[in-house]
Amino acid sequence: MLFFDMMRDPAILVLCSIALAGCSGLPGLVLRDGTLGQRLASVAALTSSLLALPSLLYLLIGGGEASFLLNWNLPFGPCEVALDPLSLFFLIPIFLIFPAGSLYALGYWPAASHSSQRSVTFFYGLLACAMALVVVSRNGALFVMAWEIMALSGYFLLVAEHREGEVRGAGTVYLVASHLGGAALLVLFASLFMITGSFGFPAAGSLAVGAGLAATLFWLVLAGFGSKAGIMPLHLWLPSAHANAPSHVSALLSGVMLKIGIYGILRVISFFTERPLWWGGVLTVAGLGSAVMGICVASAQKDIKRLLAYSSIENLGIISAGIGMFLLGDGTGNQRLAFLGLAGALFHVLNHVIFKPLLFFCAGSVMHATGTRDLDRMGGLARRLPYTAFFTLCGAVAICGLPPFNGFASEMLLYLGFFGEARAGQPFVALGAPVLALVGGVAVISFVKLYGIAFLGEPRTAAAAEAHEATGTMLAPIALLACLALTGGLFPQLFLALVQPAMRVLAPGLARAAVLPIAPVWFALAGVSVICLAAILYLFLKAKTGGSAVSAPTWGCGYLRPSPRIQYTGSSFGAFFSSLSGSLIRTRITVGQVAGLTPAAVRLSYHPEETLLHRVVLPVLNVLGIGCAFVRRLQHGEVQIYILYIFVTLMLLLLWVH
């Protein structure tokens, strides 16, 4: 009876779903039949999200809150777990993408062809559970523990194909970056402990600290959470990690884990009674900078998943700029700016959660079909993968922020925020609008390239010519996300209804006082009109030319022996813009020497470089590595001596404390 009463409480349902998600991979570890284990995991994932999502939406829209106290015998006091609108909002991505990816993995990463399937399935569930725990925990120590589980399960997922050197390298960079970020978080929560005297989170708007301390805390937040969210220049781990992970893992990492960084920033910001104005300035500038740099580097990529990863940096930059705009508005008492910034940022969070996993799933289907991530080795896939091609097109249009998809609606809010400032006394904030326009323009380069080179034209390799369509379990989540992307673009008020309660946590009163300057009906009207106009024109032209269409080869401009190799490649498509953007995008060109009277075949290849990593960070780290060589002697693999180290450290600490 008690059980049934508990189950009627949506908050408990959510907590149970979190636990269920964490356990979803367990049967797979013990069952001999790997396929059965994976199916059970998917069923568990779907069940957990079917339980959690309605409860989440009910609580979020109904304005419900809940908190639970876990009385643990641990030195950092009782742990609080709570569901407030901000937490509920950030749980939606987890319970949307986790089951979608789990379903997708049935076709993409099946036990039959992947020996690592058991561990991937297990850590996949664990990652979702840890992310949810991060979001619901209200205690610094519990938060950091969940954060570490999240970071480590992310690592184990990412190195699923650890036999490849590139994957191991990406894993190491990820591990270093996430631990540097984690260290910043440890310091952050330790400082909060010093201020409040408890590991429990301070209530929203209750923390009043001096300017110096606030500055320290802000930089710690930026280092700890900003590195997880991939804000430049803390993004170094992100591209290679997303590129080398299995695609459903990339979807979860990029679609959800980056947002946990955003959650962290918002949560800590919510503690403060007064937020200095310069925080907003820093976040806006860093966000817009990340957006421009991220998308410019994306336009030079020829690896389909690296391109998507860099575009995540762009999107997270846009979200940070929105948060910065909110802080600027909040600091100057400009309600309109604050409202549009925060609503735009949170709306864009939801949008990126929809279209980025959609694109990663599609990229996974393409890789599954062709066996390569290199755009220059694809082509003509639209005929062989018609459904994947269609959904990729939806995702590409959405992520470029074009109507009638959801990306446009959230960027519109940010544009309105920036534009509104043109009328104010400090119009320099309006300069964000042309920057966003530039970002939008370069995004079109990147995604026309991704779509056009991979799916259109003629196949460039035999593998691309024999590609096959993805299975039904892979297509179903993709189709769902594509529908959501269109819904968000036509009816943004549905998404804004989820955003509004979360805003109340950060700025009580704002969500009620400020109103949207644009009636949402215009989005629906514009979107539906363009779609209908296009449909009418299409049918008209089809009726006019249906019988008379003649099929012929593409006009080669007089050239009579065309081959698929003369098509524009991904590298050549981005090369023109790269040549304009100078040293920001470096491409290493390897070309063989032509020698002798009858030279052999020579190959030329382009490799876009991660300029910051290769030119700045790695050289510095190499020097540091030489300097620290003597420390390495401490690590020799003898466990008993390691235990001695621990004992000695403990003794020294005890002596120091007394």
Binding site: I445, I453, G457, A526, P562, F573
Partner: protein, 302 residues
């Protein structure tokens, strides 16, 4: 109501005439008689009657390209006011939708170009997207300046705010803004000095090379869409450049139409006296336009 009907009729019927006027102007400069003013209409009518040749490489995207582009441009046509008459659809932030509808069209035109597997069309598509991402911020700078001047964020009140007294007060800024917009107008509509709409097979081309494989009614859609885009961006320009209102509604339509024809003559003159720029100079000119509009903003802010 009558305004809306006038608006729709003008927007649907007038764009090809601009091409005719440009052609006639160029012919006059070259000492030729030139094709009749209505030649673009005849061309499009003939194209509508023709059959089509579809490349073996193409998919439905190839046919969707002109269709979506034209649909987006047609909707954008409802957002821009013509002269002193308000646009049929006007709301806060419509200028962002206006700009993004062109971007939607560009997305589909360039993907359709890549669908043909032709190296020339791929090249055109790459240039198109690269140049337009430099032209886009210029347009937004201009819109910010206008927002600052008018205090509104919708195209109709924003453009109708630019009257003679405003010109007297902030003429310098508006001239800079118009210069920037004119460059964007030429670049976005494949006019000399950025691109030559009359050459169909040269390596320096941008827009024209993307539509090499379109034929028949689909090519008609492409041409009409391009003319409409020229008309809409031209309307934006003329609304700022012609701050006169006669007071009589019908006379205002005539004034606006005359302004558009004058603009077409101006474009024809530019095309006659200039050569096409080298490709690497194009971004420099676009950036110069960007800086001009940025200056116009600085002048308004002070």
């Amino acid at each position: 109501m009558i305004d809306t009907i006038f608006h729709v009729v003008l927007v649907l019927a007038m764009p090809p005439l601009l091409l005719g006027v440009i052609g006639k102007t160029k012919a006059a400069f070259a000492g030729r008689v030139g094709a009749p003013f209505l030649q673009p209409y005849y061309d499009m009518g003939r194209l509508m009657k023709k059959g089509i040749v579809l490349s073996d490489s193409t998919t439905w995207i190839f046919r969707a390209g002109p269709v979506v582009t034209l649909a987006a441009t047609l909707f954008a046509a409802l957002l821009v006011p013509l002269g002193k008459h308000p646009a049929p659809i006007s709301f806060e932030g419509d200028m962002i939708l206006f700009a993004y509808l062109f971007a939607l069209g560009r997305f589909f035109t360039t993907t359709a170009a890549l669908d043909t597997a032709s190296s020339f069309e791929g090249m055109g598509a790459a240039r198109e997207v690269s140049f337009s991402c430099l032209a886009e911020p210029t347009l937004f700078f201009a819109l910010i300046t206008l927002t600052r001047l008018s205090g509104t964020m919708s195209l109709t009140p924003m453009l109708q705010h630019v009257t003679l007294p405003v010109w007297m007060g902030t003429g310098a800024s508006l001239i800079l803004l118009l210069a920037g917009l004119f460059v964007v107008l030429l670049a976005e509509n494949c006019r000399i000095p950025f691109d030559d709409p009359n050459t169909h097979l040269e390596l320096t081309m941008i827009h024209e090379v993307m539509v090499l494989d379109h034929s028949g009614p689909y090519f008609c859609c492409v041409l009409y869409g391009a003319a409409l885009k020229l008309y809409l961006l031209g309307a934006l320009f003329v609304n700022i450049a012609l701050p006169f209102a006669s007071g009589n509604a019908y006379l205002d339509w005539v004034v606006f139409a005359a302004g558009m024809l004058l603009l077409a003559v101006a474009i024809g003159v530019v095309e006659s006296v200039m050569a096409r720029l080298r490709l690497i100079r194009v971004p420099q000119l676009l950036v110069a336009a960007l800086i001009l509009t940025a200056f116009s903003l600085v002048l308004v802010v002070r």
